[in-house]
């Protein structure tokens, strides 16, 4: 079967700094891969590269069958990315933000409402993004990603700021992934929690990826 993500000695620059210095990575469909590594190891950069938000400098990168060196926009409508920021508009309410994101990527308004419920934000549906608390924003960002009905879900420290309920939502998403034909890459420092849900762990150190040695 065709891999969802295939990187070969991928180099990615931030300014002139090689944040990724030759990464090899293969992710098969339906996998939940945990990306671990210290602060500044390059996790965010790797996820942004796969999302097509950063250009590839050297090496090969293929996501969902698209060669990123040639075109890094085509695959995006099947990919959802939850980054350190929420990608939402301050002056729109939670529901409006969700609906805009869903419609923009061709999903229906009901998908947006379903996502709102799934992340437990019904009560804040009419509160504008600027007024949400940090954790509510994280939930909204996750909701936006889910509303887009992606095939590949990239999560960058989704635990940060989530309370116990929120984490349970997240666990449920990871658990359901295999059944829904959803591939997940999750960067996180909540290793204890995530390891048990992930099918595999990849450790990033100084811009390079290694398979984790399971204790």
């Amino acid at each position: 079967m065709q891999p969802v993500v295939r990187l070969r000695s991928a180099v990615c620059l931030l300014g002139r700094f090689p944040a990724l210095a030759g990464v090899d990575l293969d992710v098969a469909s339906g996998e939940v891969v945990l990306l671990s590594g210290g602060n500044g190891a390059g996790k965010t950069t790797l996820l942004r590269l796969i999302a097509g938000l950063l250009p590839l400098h050297q090496g090969e990168a293929e996501v969902l069958g698209h060669n990123l060196a040639r075109n890094r926009t085509e695959h995006r409508r099947y990919v959802a990315f939850v980054g350190h920021e929420t990608f939402c508009y301050d002056d729109l309410t939670a529901r409006e933000n969700l609906r805009f994101a869903a419609r923009a990527s061709g999903a229906s308004a009901s998908a947006a409402d379903a996502a709102l419920e799934r992340v437990g934000l019904e009560r804040c549906a009419a509160v504008s993004h600027a007024r949400l608390s940090a954790g509510q924003r994280r939930r909204l960002a996750l909701g936006v990603a889910l509303a887009r009905e992606p095939r590949l879900l990239l999560l960058d420290e989704p635990h940060a700021g989530l309370d116990a309920d929120g984490r349970a939502v997240l666990d449920a998403v990871l658990e359901a992934a295999a059944g829904e034909d959803l591939t997940v890459l999750i960067a996180s420092h909540e290793l204890d929690r995530t390891r048990s849900l992930a099918s595999r762990e990849v450790v990033l150190t100084a811009g390079q990826a290694h398979a984790a040695v399971r204790p």
Partner: protein, 224 residues
């Protein structure tokens, strides 16, 4: 969704944000009126030239207000990394361009309508040949909105969005400034025939930049 639907989704989003924050109405418009007044003031009414320079003043003011409107339009995308969200959304970049430019054009049109009233009252100008005047205004507005949106995204990728847009944009839209001013002058004098060549220039400009924008917005949006 087809291009028009996508564009109207984006325009709708921008206009809804505007309706909620009222930035154009409550801040850009007063700014325009004040600039109009200040310029009139600085150029000293004694010399009796104000009536003649009214079209020039009007369009200078519109340009300055347009700078603010565009800066606002991209400030919206800069907050919370919304720009990355747009990039990930799978919307056609051409639609994003058209949508954002349309929203700016609508805001500018509202602004111009009110500023025109200001000019009529302040400078005692009567509009003369309405047809060419209106046409020139619409074309100039489209031209400014398209160019502004294009340069807005160009500057947005750099850190200093607020200050880069003016520098890049003003020289490029200077033909619009001149064309619209001359067209207004001709129309106000009732000399429609003199206005048409300028309207032609404005039309070329509007079409040209709308096409360039539709083609170039994608690559510019991608710029890291």
């Amino acid at each position: 969704m087809n291009l028009a639907q996508e564009a109207s989704l984006v325009a709708g989003k921008d206009l809804r944000i505007e309706a909620r924050s009222r930035v154009t109405l409550q801040q850009v418009l007063p700014f325009g009126l004040i600039v109009l007044l200040l310029f009139a003031f600085a150029l000293d009414p004694d010399r009796g030239v104000l009536r003649d320079v009214a079209p020039g003043l009007f369009w200078v003011t519109v340009l300055l207000a347009a700078l603010l409107a565009i800066s606002r339009s991209f400030a919206i995308e800069a907050a919370n990394g919304a720009r990355d969200g747009l990039r990930m959304s799978g919307l056609d970049p051409a639609a994003i361009f058209l949508g954002k430019a349309a929203a700016v054009a609508v805001e500018l049109a509202a602004l111009e309508a009110l500023l025109t009233v200001g000019v009529i009252v302040l400078f005692d100008v009567s509009l003369g040949a309405i047809g060419p005047l209106l046409l020139a205004t619409v074309l100039a507005t489209v031209g400014v909105a398209a160019t502004g949106t294009l340069y807005g995204v160009l500057a947005a990728s750099s850190g200093a969005r607020e200050t880069l847009v003016p520098v890049l944009l003003l020289p490029v839209v200077s033909p619009v400034l001149l064309g619209a001013t001359r067209a207004w002058e001709a129309a106000i004098d009732g000399a429609s025939s003199d206005a048409w060549p300028w309207i032609g220039v404005l039309a070329v400009f509007a079409v040209l930049y709308t096409s360039i924008g539709t083609l170039a917005f994608g690559p510019l949006l991608e710029e890291a």
